[in-house]
Symmetry: C2
């Protein structure tokens, strides 16, 4: 029920995933009559396929009587309305009936519902929204987190983001040893604001990640780093700025290309090239953002998601669940917790020894 193009695009994306992805069952959660009214709009062939999928259980419509209103406080809305569609869908994951959750609803509402229903992975203070961004290298996307779940962060949270991001990059994006960067305003160790300057030495000490120091905005799309951590305010601004620049470039090109006959011809000759670029950077393919730190594969799709974007978000969620992203994150966070505990004990032992000597 969530997203700018709901329910049409959301239902259709779910239908496409159920029919198109192998070995996938899709629960469509929301007002039953609203969802079923979408099916009726489909061409007869597709309508029959949907009916067949419902009959053999590949599609299941799950009724949720309420919809969380997004007007003011989304986190409060999901707490107040126990049976809103986000909560009902999240409970399917909690109950083990569904392996992953996808919504194009408000990210604050989804995060709150996930925390409320699923809880957090042990050792995680705050779940973070991770986004996958394309880089110059086709098979080396960048995972940027937090992209908007936590505005004002403690340095320790950034460290946990780095550990969780590494786990996700390893389990889902196939990076054997993901390289981790801290988003800052210079590559020198000392550069940054209070938050990054505190987080830097803490990140350097973590055994389970391969921390490569500060990265700048310049470096984001170079394909040299796999995981970049920052607070959710900065991450969200980066994400939206990136989209904004791409739109502005597209706008400038369209305007200039209409200049005269030769330019129009030129742009037609380049149509294939532009399509190839679009495929590489398409936010509809990259748009599903996993929420890391909750015990379940939760994917937040862009609010303006089309059916195609929902299809790809479901695909991302399925991959995350199949590759046990939650297990990988739990293990790495546990290792990190153990390292912290060991260091703490060592420090205490040293202090005790020093005291005994004195």
């Amino acid at each position: 029920m969530g997203g700018d193009n709901a329910p049409g695009a959301i239902v259709r994306g779910g239908v496409d995933a159920a029919l198109g992805l192998e070995d996938v069952k899709v629960f469509l959660v929301g007002r039953k009559d609203t969802i079923e009214a979408e099916f009726v709009k489909y061409p007869p062939a597709l309508f029959q396929q949907v009916q067949a999928a419902i009959a053999d259980g590949r599609i299941e419509v799950v009724h949720a009587p309420d919809v969380a209103e997004m007007d003011d406080a989304p986190a409060k809305a999901v707490r107040a309305k126990r049976d809103c569609s986000i909560n009902v869908a999240m409970r399917l994951v909690k109950a083990g009936k569904a392996d992953c959750f996808v919504s194009a609803g408000n990210s604050g509402a989804v995060s709150a519902s996930a925390m409320f229903t699923l809880g957090r992975i042990r050792g995680v203070d705050r779940p973070a929204i991770a986004t996958v961004l394309p880089t110059r290298l086709p098979r080396r996307p960048l995972l940027l987190l937090d992209a908007g779940a936590n505005m004002d962060c403690h340095p320790e949270w950034l460290v946990q983001f780095a550990v969780m991001g590494s786990a996700y990059s390893h389990a889902v994006l196939n990076r054997t040893t993901p390289l981790v960067g801290l988003l800052s305003i210079g590559t020198e160790d000392c550069k940054g604001n209070d938050l990054t300057k505190s987080a830097f030495p803490m990140l350097k000490r973590v055994d389970t990640i391969d921390f490569r120091g500060n990265v700048e905005g310049h470096d984001l799309f170079q394909g040299q780093t796999d995981v970049v951590v920052c607070d959710g305010f900065v991450g969200n601004v980066v994400l939206k700025t990136t989209e904004s620049v791409c739109h502005a470039m597209g706008y400038w090109m369209k305007r200039e290309f209409r200049g005269n006959f030769w330019r129009t011809l030129g742009s037609l000759l380049l149509l294939g090239a532009f399509k190839a670029i679009k495929r590489q950077v398409d936010p509809e393919i990259y748009g599903g953002a996993p929420l890391l730190g909750v015990p379940g594969a939760v994917v937040i799709a862009h609010g303006s998601s089309s059916a195609k974007a929902i299809y790809h978000a479901i695909k991302a969620g399925v991959t995350g669940a199949k590759n046990d992203m939650t297990g990988e994150i739990s293990r790495r966070i546990a290792d990190y917790e153990l390292q912290k505990k060991t260091e703490e004990e060592q420090k205490q032992a040293e202090a005790a020894a020093a005291e005994a000597l004195a």
Copy 2:
């Protein structure tokens, strides 16, 4: 002496400005022999023009024995080396011999030297680096500040940035009533981090600016806002991300356009269109960033500035000085201070009246 392409590009940009801009005299400040060695490299005709310009005073080489080393702490370097080129050039402004200052050196060093030599405009807590960014609308660039002078900001500083940015936009960028936005992660009043949530109501109260609320990364290049304020960490990240996206887009296009004969032909037909776009968004033209809040027209050019970028940075500085940007900022900051004082007095008077009644 500062910048990646120093001294060649810097000297040449200064020479081009002295010869190309009307009614402009350029002081070239640095090691005299290094600067003069550049002139010798020029083709004979240009060399003679330079000699003629030196003879009639349009170019003056000012010797500065030291260069601030940028390795670790640039702010310290300019304090330690009194006669480094940045300080010597800044003193020309202080003494009234020069109307504006331009450097492609480290922005921290320039800001520190400006504060140290020129001081601050009365009422300004922290000077801010403002950058001019192109938007969809050709004649409506966006002024984003702070772009990197102040990492961790107080809300009050953001308010001063808004007042200074409005003054600059009015005086130099010809906006009669500049619209001001606060960079945040949602357009709703309540969205943001601690800093923006505190700054929001303060910005709303200022009489001398036209505050239009939160703007998102999405909105930056739409041409709907004239001045956008944020802390220097976020501003710097936005700026570098923008550059990074543009570079990545250029890279993807170049790669795809080489695909085959027809694509190459297409890209040749569009050469004019791409050049037109480049002219609009060229960081070499937009690259000069004024430092607002010091009593003098100080422009920080990009570290990687070419001669053309230096030429345009000088042009920006000259425009700033001619349009009395410093005076405009001083007046608006004074008005803002007066408003604060009046409100404070009113509050005290009300409190006194309430007490008298009680």
